[in-house]
Amino acid sequence: MLDLTYTLPKPRVIAGARHDWELVIGMEIHAQVASNAKLFSGASTQVGSEPNSNVAFVDAAMPGMLPVINEFCIEQAVRTGLGLKAQINLTSAFDRKNYFYPDLPQGYQISQLYHPIVGMGEVLVEMSPGVARLVRIERIHLEQDAGKSIHDMDPAMSFVDFNRTGVALMEIVSRPDLRGPEEAAAYVAKLRQILRYLGTCDGNMQNGNLRADVNVSVCRPGQYEKYQATQDFGHLGTRCEIKNMNSMRFIQLAIDFEARRQIAILEDGGTVHQETRLYDPDKNETRSMRSKEEAHDYRYFPDPDLLPLEIEQAWVDDIAAQMPELPDAKKARFMGDFGLTDYDANVLTADLESAAFFEAVAAGRDGKMAANWVINELFGRLNKQGLAIADSPVSVAQLGGVLDLIASGEISGKMAKDLFEIVWTEGGDPAAIAAARGMKQVTDTGAIEAAVDAIIAENPGQVEKARANPKLAGWFVGQVIKSTGGKANPATVNEMVTRKLGL
């Protein structure tokens, strides 16, 4: 199913003064594990709490305090690895990354440098139907988040809150396989979609629960292919890392700015220095981070407070057995089973809730029609009111009821839209509403025949004209439907008019 034959997207090319430039992008995504408690303490991960209230003594690095790992977080890393078709390492270990910063109370971050829990995997990033990039995942490791420094509460001081300190992050590291700003954003979107399907991260970018460090470099056309052939980074340009991006739009703007900045330096005969930069959305530019200016020497070494993390294959197998259907598979199935278009399948598999809603509506009904109604009517209406699918006033059963009335010919498409509106605003059973409000089409041929006979009898002039020009038969159809208050089934009326006029 996903031995998809796709072609590669074209890399973004930026024209320079003398020649073209291409972009090379790799990403480190920090995804917060959707856990109740922190990675190494029993403090809550909840956001919006009073400062320093979700803090255990170990989170504040009080003397003598020790970490104990949260098993759920290990499981989510494994689940994520399986979701990215990655190698799961049965033995991994935690290392300390040492540096001084006020929001890092221990003076080190517990991370996994030497032995990450997840190894090589991949993500298919579709850019348009049949055009996709297979991005290689180098590793996923578990690590602690840092706290939060607030710089604008006092002119001379920074204020530090450790509520976020020690919250579990999965750092998902890609190879430099992305070739343009749109691809980078699509990659983040795809990863977010998978994480949400897996339930391992809520993907909330606004809260910073999913954020990206973006490595950008530029090179002349042809260099990237040399890198891919040899995996020798020497063929690529010097990269700069843009830290902490949490908006798809800003990711694209930042990459574009950064690439142009580097090109300008290079074309000016200068050298790009490897450094950490920060994107300023107000000015739409990146700038060097002063706090990261000095060369870092993180002095990684195995955390002696923790033993190596051994997990059992049987446990991994259990997690694998409970994996949900992932977006690529679901999309392929929707296209195959329901005959959906690529576009519709994308829309309907964007998140689990939408997909589940659609599948329930489509069950035992016409899939394409269900897709049309879910996408155009339901999503259209939800978007208009800014509602999520979970808050939809129209249930699966109600929308299904509307579709059933259309399918049986009891209501017309136009009436169905009216009915949908009534169900949306007033609720109730669609069939009962249609009956009570006389919305059902008249399919009783006797009643229709009487109406047809009456119109023909009343309009001999029109009959003459229609016999001369059969195209004018439509006038009789319209009159009949009008006379039945719009309830007559147009197909039936049309058939009868044609017959009675002898056309």
């Binding site: 009080m62 006020p102 003076g107 002095r299 070494f301 002696p304 923790l306």
Partner: protein, 492 residues
């Protein structure tokens, strides 16, 4: 005999019989403690807590179901975090720090009814072998040969001095490279470092996490067994704590070691070892033989490399463990001058708060972990550590039950005597003890005799992992045979 001079075992029996109350026993210790100020052993006294605990202990004793440690007055090394009581690890950087939590060890002891008299002096962050790196000034050895004051050893020097001088019945210590055993040997008391993972590290200020282990410092081997029993056991809050049942250590003291095998490692016979130490060791061997043990010469070929490996691994871990002392959340923060930013705050705070030896070790640790040196120093040291552990495993696999060595290369030296010495010379104090920490094994120092000057000398027994009961039994036999009963003349 004053009550403070009792052993734990004797006090326990007297308390249970009603011959003594915990309050009277505690009062006796508080008096001795106040009279012992000249030893500079207690650095924070907690008489109110002690008397409250003693009264509660008496109530429990009256009900007849008191545990062995109930009502026993103890000194607690300053490295243990004790709730609401200053816990400074002998360092100015933790000046004023009063933890909001109680270490697992002290929690267990208090739950067993033990009484805390106060906090005991120590080398700063347990880095030292003479107690001279303490921010409180050195503790003083109650033993003396002339007018010179001697070191009680380190880092648990305050604990050793307090126990040897009968200021308390026993004390907690911690041992990263010999910090329980060396001061025990220097003061004529018993000190055991349990198997790594036997005693919880939670709430004990970390020096080198993979080596640190707390243990009791007592007047007798029996007391060590009783005390260790109360300290030990699995702690879910410490990931390196072993989930193993704690056997009845006191019941293991049968006094019978007939048929067991004692290994004598040839590599511990160092060049230039004082003949007194050599003679003491020979006496110890003879005692074990007389008790019915089989004596076997063994080889632990990587012994020579234990000290350099230790002085890579311990500072490396310490450099990271001590990064948290940054003036942000607790303890000392330097006064800043105009224009000082966060970096100046860190640098000034840490320069003012840490003493020279701690600074030195942090920098050594920083260096050996830094880019380009990690493999050459740190990983190589960890490989050598694996070899050192394997040496012991091979010996035990050949049927060795315990290993007998000297505890220290000399008796106690004078305070200030090593002031101008190279730091490495001071490190040599740990030569017989660090191997045990590197291999994670239990080791115990037992007083065996006096040197020519009349200062205590001890021997060390090293046991199999998790076999503290058996080790204590061997130590008990050695103790009985040696019959060491000497006490320091009271001069303080």
């Amino acid at each position: 005999m004053n009550a403070n001079e009792l052993t734990i075992a004797a006090a326990r029996d007297a308390l249970r019989k009603g011959d003594l109350t915990a309050v009277d026993l505690t009062m006796s210790c508080l008096t001795a403690m106040d009279a012992g100020d000249g030893l500079n052993a207690f650095v924070h006294k907690t008489p109110e807590i002690a008397l409250d605990q003693a009264r509660a202990a008496d109530a429990r004793l009256a009900q007849g179901d008191a545990p062995a440690m109930c009502g026993i007055p103890l000194g607690i090394k300053d490295l243990f975090c004790t709730k609401g009581v200053p816990s400074q690890a002998g360092s100015n950087i933790l000046k004023g720090f009063r933890p909001e939590y109680e270490s697992t060890v002290t929690t267990r002891l208090f739950e067993a009814g033990a009484v805390m008299l106060g906090k005991l002096n120590m080398d700063e962050f347990a880095m030292g072998s003479s107690n001279e790196t303490s921010c409180y000034g050195p503790a003083v050895n109650p033993w003396k040969v002339d007018d010179r004051q001697l070191t009680p050893g380190g880092s648990s020097g305050g604990s050793a001095a307090a126990v040897a001088a009968d200021l308390c019945l026993a004390a907690t210590g911690t041992d990263t490279g010999g910090s329980i055993r060396q001061p025990a040997a220097f003061t004529g008391i018993v000190g055991i470092k349990p198997t790594y993972g036997r005693v919880s590290r939670w709430g004990i200020v970390a020096f080198a996490s993979s080596l640190d282990q707390a243990g009791p410092m007592t007047k007798t081997v029996r007391d060590a067994a009783i005390f260790l029993q109360a300290m030990a056991g699995h702690d879910p809050k410490d990931s390196t704590s072993a989930n193993l049942a704690v056997p009845d250590f006191e019941a293991a003291l049968t006094g019978d070691i007939r048929g067991t095998t004692i290994g004598i490692p040839k590599e511990y016979r160092m060049d230039g070892m004082p003949d007194e130490i050599e003679a003491l060791w020979a006496r110890g061997i003879a005692m074990m033989k007389d008790a019915g043990a089989r004596i076997v010469d063994i080889s632990l070929p990587h012994t020579k490399y234990a000290l350099p490996a230790y002085y890579v691994i311990a500072p490396a871990e310490a450099s990271s463990n001590l990064a948290r002392y940054d003036g942000v959340r607790y303890g000392h923060r330097a006064k800043l001058t105009a224009g000082d930013g966060i970096t100046e705050m860190y640098e000034k705070t840490r320069a003012e708060g840490f003493g020279p030896e701690v600074q030195r070790r942090i920098m050594v640790g920083t260096y050996v972990l830094s880019a380009g040196f990690y493999d050459a120093y740190y990983n190589r040291a960890r490989r050598v550590r694996a070899l050192i552990k394997r040496d012991f495993e091979l010996a035990f696999a050949e049927g060795i039950d315990a290993i007998l060595t000297p505890a220290t290369p000399s008796s106690a030296f004078g305070l200030g005597e090593m002031a101008s010495a190279d730091p490495v010379e001071m490190y040599l104090n740990d030569v017989f003890t660090v191997t045990v920490n590197l291999a994670g094994l239990p080791g115990i120092a037992v007083p065996v005799g006096l040197d020519r000057r009349g200062l205590p000398l001890g021997l060390q027994l090293i046991g199999r992992p998790w076999a503290e009961g058996d080790l204590l039994n061997h130590a008990h036999v050695l103790e009985t045979a040696a019959g060491f009963v000497a006490k320091a003349d009271k001069w303080w």
